[in-house]
Each structure stands twice: as structure tokens, then as C-alpha cells.
């Protein structure tokens, strides 16, 4: 139970700094008979936001726990900035900020005390901790609630505190498990801005979420997982290139159908309250051209918008394929 040489927090001299970011290669992890993760690959490069997307029970949280160096993979390798968590525990911990899906706050402590304790646990220089904590409280907009016990904070505020806790030691890799759940729309927009800002600072950010429309806006790339496997890894640009479904509603429903048929487009009638159709369009130019045609045909276009986000389209295709 003593501090081993690898736990002192100082990387071995002469060590070559590896590729920045976090990478998991062919990781596998089972709990007894449950194969939570069978075969997953993930690469989150520095300076980018990587979305981890998959249905409930796909193994997202297990993968994040392995990336956070809390669980050891049964097989496969994980590197954080080129370091293996098994052998460079302390060095890796310093680089990782982890925000769990369970909030886990010390309820009787104040936000300021929680962040101060975390600073101590990360062995930040004692003199710098108060200043760092104040800066962090301001960043997550908890400065005016800093001296309230954490139990009186709302879920969204606790979520922000949890994010502050993950950022206190200025990690280079940020692992966020469902960070947007429980946040009001304003806080979501803010979180989005914050994550973009952190990525711009050169951090590698992994975000798992169900709210795919959010991820569309902030993710540079996405890793889709299902049933313990990586199903696809693509960039948001790739996802957009494979087409996007648009929903069109018109006051003259019959005219809309006639015009689309005349244009020779494949469409689907949605069973909504209004006469809505949806159809796949390959890119923005196609969308602009179709809208122009419909307006000229005078069918009374009420709405014309992407039906789903680019990531959601891939996700739904994925579910359809594996179901």
C-alpha cells in the first residue's frame, strides 16, 4: 500500500511523448457472463470533439470507464497521449478529466470545497488552488452558489459542478458521459460553446450522448457502438455526405405530391397531423434547388427543414440494420 515509483506522478525521463489524444484498440471487457464490450475501437484526436453514440446498453459507459483508467480491459490496448494507463497510472490520471453519468456529489460540501478537495487530490500546488477554484467556479457559472451545500443545487447545477470537477486539473483528455442530460436548453448551448472552446485549446474530448442533434453541432467525429462493438467511425462531414432526410410540409398537400412525383423524386408520406412528406437529399445544393422548384410551383410550402441530424440519420440506419 505504498506509493510505488510509477505512482509519483512524474513520467519516466526519456519517455517519448506519444500521439496526443486517446485511443482504444480492440478493447474487450466482460462482467461474468455479460459481455459489455466485445470489440471496440475509438480514436479521439487532440483538438477535436468525438461523439460516442449508441443505444442504451451498448457498452458506452463501460468503454468510458476503461478510457478513464478505472476498469482494465480484458484484451486490447488503451493509450492516453501514447501512455498505457496500466503502467503509467499517475501520468495518465493527470491527463484525464472524467465526468461520470452518475453525478456523485458530496452533498454536504459546498461547490467551492468540492473543487478545492479535487485540486488537492490532483496535487495541484496548494497556493494556486483557491485561485484555480474561483476561475473554475466562474467557468461553470457557479460563482454565486459557491458556498451553498451541493445538495441544494439543481440537477443542472450539479452537472456543471461535475464538469468543473473534471476540469480542475486542466486535463488534456476530457471524457464526458451524458453531459447534457438534465441541462436546460440555455445550459446546453453554453456547454456546446464550452466544449468547442476546450477543443480549440487542444484537448481531446469524448462525449457520449443520446441527444444527437446536440452532437451534430459540436462533434468533429463520431463513433457508433452497438451491442459491445464499434459499428462505424466517421467524421460529421462524412455523415453529412451520405445524405440527409428533409421534411416538407405544404398547405396544398395534393399539389406537393404531384410536383414531387413530376420531379421523379422518391418520397415518403409521414403520418403527421399535417400533410408532410420526407425525402432523402444528398447535399445542401439539392435542398436549395428543390425548395426553389416547390416555391415556383406555388404549392404553399409551410416548412422545409432537415428531418434529422446527420448523426441521427446514421444512428437510425444503424438501429435498422442491427434490429
Amino acid at each position: 500500500m505504498s506509493a510505488g515509483p510509477e505512482e509519483t506522478g512524474v513520467p519516466t525521463p526519456g519517455q517519448t511523448p506519444g500521439e496526443p489524444g486517446i485511443r482504444a484498440t480492440a478493447v474487450r471487457r466482460s462482467f461474468g457472463a455479460v459481455h459489455a464490450v466485445e470489440h471496440m475501437d475509438l480514436h479521439a484526436p487532440a483538438g477535436q470533439v468525438t461523439a460516442l453514440i449508441g443505444p442504451n446498453g451498448a457498452g458506452k459507459t463501460t468503454l468510458l470507464l476503461m478510457l478513464a483508467s478505472l476498469l482494465a480491459p480484458d484484451a486490447g490496448a488503451i493509450t492516453v497521449d501514447g501512455l498505457d494507463p496500466q503502467h503509467h497510472r499517475a501520468a495518465v490520471r493527470q491527463k484525464i478529466g472524467w465526468m461520470p453519468d452518475t453525478l456523485g456529489v458530496w452533498e454536504s460540501l459546498t461547490a467551492r470545497e468540492i473543487l478545492t478537495q479535487m485540486g488537492r487530490f490532483y496535487r495541484l500546488p496548494a497556493a494556486q488552488i483557491p485561485e484555480r477554484v474561483n476561475a473554475m467556479l466562474a467557468t461553470v457559472r457557479l460563482a454565486d452558489l459557491a458556498d451553498q451545500p451541493a445538495r441544494v443545487l439543481s440537477r443542472g447545477q450539479q452537472q456543471r459542478l461535475s464538469l468543473g470537477r473534471a476540469l480542475i486539473h486542466n486535463p488534456t483528455v476530457l471524457l464526458l458521459d451524458e453531459p447534457a442530460s438534465g441541462l436546460d436548453p440555455g445550459s446546453r448551448v453554453e456547454l456546446r460553446g464550452m466544449l468547442r472552446g476546450l477543443a480549440a485549446e487542444g484537448k481531446a474530448i469524448v462525449v457520449s450522448s443520446h441527444v444527437l442533434s446536440e452532437l451534430d453541432e459540436i462533434a468533429d467525429g463520431a463513433v457508433f457502438v452497438n451491442r459491445g462493438r464499434t459499428v462505424s467511425q466517421q467524421t460529421t462531414a462524412d455523415a453529412a455526405a451520405s445524405g440527409r432526410r428533409y421534411a416538407v410540409t405544404a398547405s396544398n398537400g395534393a399539389g406537393l405530391l404531384a410536383k414531387l412525383t413530376a420531379l421523379g423524386l422518391v418520397f415518403r408520406q409521414e403520418d403527421n397531423r399535417r400533410a408532410t412528406v420526407s425525402l432523402m437529399l444528398m447535399n445542401d445544393d439539392d435542398a436549395a434547388r428543390l425548395l426553389k422548384e416547390l416555391v415556383l410551383a406555388d404549392v404553399g410550402v409551410i416548412s422545409f427543414a432537415p428531418a434529422t441530424g446527420a448523426l441521427e440519420e446514421t444512428y437510425l440506419n444503424l438501429e435498422a440494420r442491427t434490429a
Binding site: S2, G9, A72, G104, S108, Y122, R123, L124, N170
Partner: protein, 376 residues
């Protein structure tokens, strides 16, 4: 936001850093404990109960002294010379130990799996803290919280001393041994809480372990005794008339006749089980006044009787069988063959084993998880 270089961990000395980490965990734990009202309520109940027990013991001793004085006025000096101190001290000590054994599991046995259930353990595990620092920090915090109860009962132990018969040394030794027993139970509790999935389960298991030490050791000793039959050489004890021995300074019997093989119980073979009993450990560690040269009519208190009983068991029939090897036996065993180091050693070994197993289960990246537990 500051840059990474400013925030690199302070280059603390490895050993100093290890203890600083423990201290940080203790601070975190104690802040939470001191802000929960339950601890203060328990402390108040403890204080009041110990006070009531002390008052009743004193009142009981006082009324029996009054009764003796009215019955035998000439014997007043004899009744006065012992004082109530010894009795109050021992009753309070036994009571405090009993309550300490009841309170310590509640303070320690959810230390780790309670945090696991609340999702806060993984928050600690993902930092630079090592499993040992988390475990020792949790242990120290539970122990400090338990020591609060000991501090609350100190006034009554001091009352026991000040009423006569005992020295401050007795209080110090008694408090020290009580503190050590609390540490043993807290160690068991924290270790078990790291192993068990649910707080309720680990609390029950810790209580059962403590019950095992208090009652199980007695039962095991009793069963063991019946399996430890043996023989030894002894001759006949001839008991004197009580009148012939008014001073009570000589043995009550003489040994006569031929040596014969007699059946005896080899209690020394199973005495180590008795030694693990917390009451035996505390009772045996307290230095009692030397009575070996004194009266044969032994008049010590509860704890002293426990100590003497256990020492007789450890000494075996050689020391307790009348006329063993043709010699008379002293009625009172000297404090030269202490039993408590053996018992305490066994207890510490047990608590150490639990803590070590607990430490194994806290290591990250975790390879194996206990059934039904999540790391976060």
C-alpha cells in the same frame, strides 16, 4: 484558464505526498461526518447513557456501603478503604467498551461501499490518490469519529478514578486499549465495506464479526474445552476450617497423600480463542494493584475477574488444579503472564487481513469486480 505547466502537481516528497493524500481524504470524510446530525445525536445519547450508568453504579455502591455500615458499624474502616472508584471505573469501562463495539461498525462499515453506491468513490479513484491512501483515509476518518465517543466518556472514567482507588495511569491505559479496540473494529468495518456490495450487508457482517469476537470466542472456548481433556499428576487437597485460617493469608488447603493421575481440562490449548475477546484484551491490559501477596479472598471488580479467569485458562491445570504436582496454588495469578498481546495480535491480524483484501478491491484499473457491483 491557466496553462498546463502552471498546474502541474507540486513536486512533493514521495512519502510526504502519501501522507498528505491520506490527510486530504480524512479532511473530506470528516467534513461530511461533522455536518451530519446523526453523529451528534448518537454522541449525545452516548454521553447521557454513560452518565446514567455511572450515577446508578455510584448510587448502588453507596447504598450497599450504607447498609454495611448500619449492619456492622465496627467494620467501617474496612468498608471505607476500597472506595467506589474501582467499581465505578470497571463498570463504566465495561459499558463504554460494549457501546464502542456497538457504535464502531455503524461508523465504519459503509465507508467504502456507501460511497460506491453514491457514485463518489470512483471520483476519488480517478484522481492521483492511490488505493492505499483512500483506504487509510477512510479508516482514519472512521476511527476519529469513533474516538469522539471515547472522548465523550472520558469524564466518567475520570470520575471513577477521582472517587478513589485508581490512578490516572489506569485511565490512560484503559483509554488507550479502548482506542485500540475501536481501531480494530473500524479496520474490520472499512475492510469489509470495501469487499461487500451493499452497505447493509457489510454493516451486518461487521456486527456479526464483532459478535463473533465477543460471544463467538466464548462459545468456541467452551466447545474447545470439552475437547481438551487430559490428565496430570496431583494429590489430595485437604481443606482447612475457615476458623483455622482467620487471616486469610495462607492457602485454604494442604496437599496430602500419594500423587495420582487425575483427569483435568487442558484449557491452555484453547485459551487463545478467549484471548481474542475484546473484553479480555482490555481487562487484561489494565495494570491492577498487586494482590499476589495479599488476601486469598479475591475481591476485584468485573474487569479484573475477566482478566484473572482468562489467565487461569491460559495457565492451564498446572496453575489452577488444586495440588497439581503436589503443590498448593496461589489464588491470584500475578500480572507476569499477560494474555492481551496474543489476543490483540490475533485481532490486528484479522483486521489487517480485511483491510488488505479491501485494498485489493480498490485497485484501479480494476481487473475483477465483486459480483453485482459497478465501479461507477
Amino acid at each position: 484558464m491557466s496553462s498546463a505547466t502552471e498546474l502541474s502537481p507540486s513536486p512533493t516528497h514521495a512519502a510526504g505526498g502519501y501522507f498528505a493524500g491520506i490527510r486530504d481524504v480524512v479532511v473530506l470524510e470528516l467534513k461530511q461526518r461533522l455536518r451530519s446530525r446523526g453523529w451528534y445525536i448518537m454522541l449525545a445519547i452516548w454521553f447521557v447513557l454513560t452518565g446514567i450508568v455511572t450515577a446508578l453504579t455510584w448510587a448502588g455502591w453507596e447504598s450497599s456501603r450504607q447498609a454495611r455500615l448500619s449492619y456492622m458499624p465496627s467494620d467501617a474502616s474496612l468498608a471505607m478503604n476500597d472506595g467506589p472508584g474501582s467499581v465505578i471505573f470497571e463498570v463504566v469501562l465495561a459499558f463504554v467498551l460494549l457501546f464502542a463495539l456497538l457504535v464502531a461498525p455503524a461508523l465504519s462499515a459503509n465507508a467504502i461501499n456507501g460511497d460506491r453506491a453514491g457514485g463518489t468513490l470512483a471520483i476519488l479513484q480517478v484522481t492521483l490518490l492511490t488505493p492505499g491512501q483512500i483506504l487509510w483515509g477512510k479508516f482514519c476518518a472512521a476511527w476519529i469519529a469513533a474516538l469522539g465517543f471515547l472522548v465523550a466518556s472520558t469524564p466518567f472514567l475520570i470520575i471513577g478514578v477521582s472517587l478513589g482507588g485508581m490512578t490516572p495511569g489506569h485511565v490512560l491505559v484503559a483509554l488507550l486499549m479502548l482506542a485500540v479496540e475501536l481501531a480494530v473494529v473500524c479496520g474490520l468495518g472499512v475492510g469489509i465495506s470495501a469487499l461487500a456490495g451493499r452497505p447493509l450487508f457489510s454493516i451486518v457482517v461487521t456486527y456479526l464479526t464483532v459478535a463473533g469476537l465477543v460471544f463467538g470466542t466464548l462459545i468456541a472456548f467452551g466447545l474447545g474445552v470439552s475437547l481438551s481433556q487430559g490428565t496430570m499428576m496431583a494429590n489430595q487437597a485437604q481443606y482447612r476450617d475457615y476458623v483455622a485460617n482467620p487471616s486469610q493469608t495462607m492457602p485454604e488447603y494442604e496437599c496430602e497423600g500419594p500423587m495420582r493421575e487425575v483427569p483435568v481440562i487442558r484449557t491452555e490449548r484453547v485459551a487463545w480463542m478467549l484471548a481474542m475477546n475484546p473484553f479480555v484484551v482490555v481487562a487484561d491490559a489494565i495494570p491492577y494493584p498487586d494482590r499476589t501477596g495479599g488476601t486469598y479472598g479475591f475481591s476485584g471488580g468485573t474487569m479484573e475477574s475477566i482478566s484473572q479467569g482468562a489467565r487461569h485458562a491460559l495457565a492451564g491445570p498446572e496453575a489452577s488444579q488444586p495440588c497439581a504436582n503436589g503443590k498448593t496454588q496461589p489464588g491470584y495469578l500475578a500480572q507476569t503472564t499477560p494474555l492481551w498481546p496474543l489476543g490483540l495480535g490475533l485481532q490486528v491480524a484479522l483486521a489487517g487481513l480485511m483491510l488488505w483484501l479491501g485494498w485489493r478491491s480498490l485497485r484501479t484499473p480494476a481487473k475483477k469486480l465483486a459480483r453485482g457491483t459497478r465501479i461507477a
